[in-house]
């Protein structure tokens, strides 16, 4: 009896060790990049696995001078504008789909949801041509419409589900008192479905922040988002690994930090969006 218990404990320990080893292997490239970004140029290649001695911030200075901080700000701006618009438009539509009955509700919903899995590559050429014709080539304005449009289907789907879960009693009472739909949407459903809004906001925010193909095609000028800026920075400084790695850390660290703090929301949001990868 005791020997079988010991065997089981040993096995559990072995499984844990294996899992830890796997996790360490999975985390190693990021950890290596973070340490290497603090090293002097040649040490990255000649002593790849030693701690930075002494650590240097020069690589970060190079990355900042190249404008990565500006692009960071661009990404923050573009992502927040788009997420705000997505939440506004999607929650209005979701209110109608969840609470109001009207002719054409089913077909309109299907039409909107049909866009869910469309690859952005399907619209790159028409959007690029349209933006060039409209004189918007290179401008961040050319990205707001497409980003919002491509975020809407999933956001409406998820928010409709969240709104449907809010109990109707409060609204029924308010409606009797002559409260308008717009006020119900703003004063009842938005606050009650706050979790859903945060989840959807984070899901679409991560997508917009990381989006590359559309930004690459549209942002031909100096105004760049982080992914485009980072790729251009890498092209320019490809021999200076220290600077490139510092750039990587500047791009990835805020997202990872946010992830560790708001993990619950992010995991829920992204797996709720299991239809978009």
């Amino acid at each position: 009896m005791t020997s079988s218990r010991r065997a089981r404990m040993l096995r559990a320990l072995a499984v844990r060790a294996l899992l830890i080893a796997l996790a360490a292997a999975a985390a190693s490239p990021v950890a290596w990049a973070a340490f290497a970004s603090l090293k002097h140029g040649r040490d990255i290649t000649t002593r790849p696995f030693e701690l930075p001695r002494p650590p240097t911030m020069r690589n970060y200075a190079t990355a900042v001078e190249a404008g990565l901080l500006w692009q960071w700000l661009h990404s923050v701006l573009l992502t927040s504008v788009c997420v705000a618009l997505v939440l506004l438009l999607a929650s209005l539509a979701a209110y109608a789909f969840a609470r109001l009955s009207f002719r054409g509700r089913g077909p309109l919903r299907t039409l909107l949801l049909s866009g869910m899995m469309v690859p952005v590559h399907a619209v790159l050429i028409p959007l690029f041509v349209a933006a060039s014709r409209a004189g918007l080539a290179g401008s961040p304005l050319s990205l707001i419409g497409p980003y919002v449009a491509f975020s809407l289907p999933l956001s409406v789907l998820l928010l409709t589900a969240y709104f449907a879960e809010v109990p109707r009693e409060i609204e029924d009472a308010a409606r009797l008192d002559g409260c308008s739909d717009l006020r119900l949407w703003w004063h009842v459903l938005i606050p009650m479905a706050r979790n859903g809004l945060i989840t959807v906001g984070i899901l679409q925010g991560v997508w917009i922040w990381n989006e590359y193909p559309m930004a690459l095609v549209m942002l031909t000028g100096n105004w760049k988002t982080l992914p485009v800026g980072l790729a251009a920075f890498k092209g320019q400084y490809h021999a200076d690994w220290g600077a490139v790695l510092a750039g990587l850390v500047i791009v990835a660290a805020p997202l990872l930090a946010l992830f560790f703090v708001f993990q619950r929301w992010i995991v829920r949001g992204i797996t709720a969006g299991a239809v978009r990868s």
Partner: protein
Amino acid sequence: MVPYAFVAPALFVFCAFALIPIALGLCAAAFRIDPVLRVCEYVGARNFATIASDPPFHIALRNNLLWILLSIGVQIPLALLLAAALIDQSRFCRALRTVFFSPLVIPGVAIGIMFSIVLDGQFGALNAALSWVEGHQVTVGWTADRRWALFCLIAVACWQYTGYHMMVLLAGMQGIPTELYEAAEIDGAGWWQRLGGITLPLLRRVMLADVLLVAIGSVKVFDIVQVMTQGGPNNATEVLATYMYSQAFMSERMGSGAAVAVVMLIITLGFAVIHSRLARLEAGAP
């Protein structure tokens, strides 16, 4: 009129920036578009004939297919094992889940750049580590070597997405009643027996839906390929998305690019239709 006023803004933006562009993209594939972006003449299916006779297009199709198969073969089993091993709410399990999931929030561009440095043939960290293990200098070109390049890229994609599929499957597993496991444990079923006898059959639909998600994602793959190899060396890692990008925006063959985009659209929609059928089947059960 009130309901329509609520729906109209979203529908308008969706139609203007997604639906109509998709339709225009379908049309663009049937026209010749010159380098200054004027639509010139109707050419029917000629753009499709052009790409169909272009060897890189065939390579791209084959690579996307390989990408789908290998991603499914690696990510789903690994994600399933990890989810089954890390399902409980102990601090240990939660911490490891965080580690495995975290690559998903890093931009694909950053991941591509990071791995192109790690996998560099001359000074990369992987070769340095292998040299240390092997005791002599290892100089495999990884992404520069056409035998390895595609497999390296797929491995990077697996690194990025396995944790995500672990979470998707884990969400599905949480819907399985725990009494089933307790009963099986009393009957003396081991971990593997419980996985094969309870989890797998009850998770079949979730897994099938997840397999389709991997397939759809693999058809759209762009970021890491564009950043790490741009489809090279010699088109060895060309995928539909990079081929479309290079046709339309590097070689100024907008018509051919539009035709490739249509092929991508048809393939993803095919998978998406199957996926939504499954989702509808599933809608009855949580």
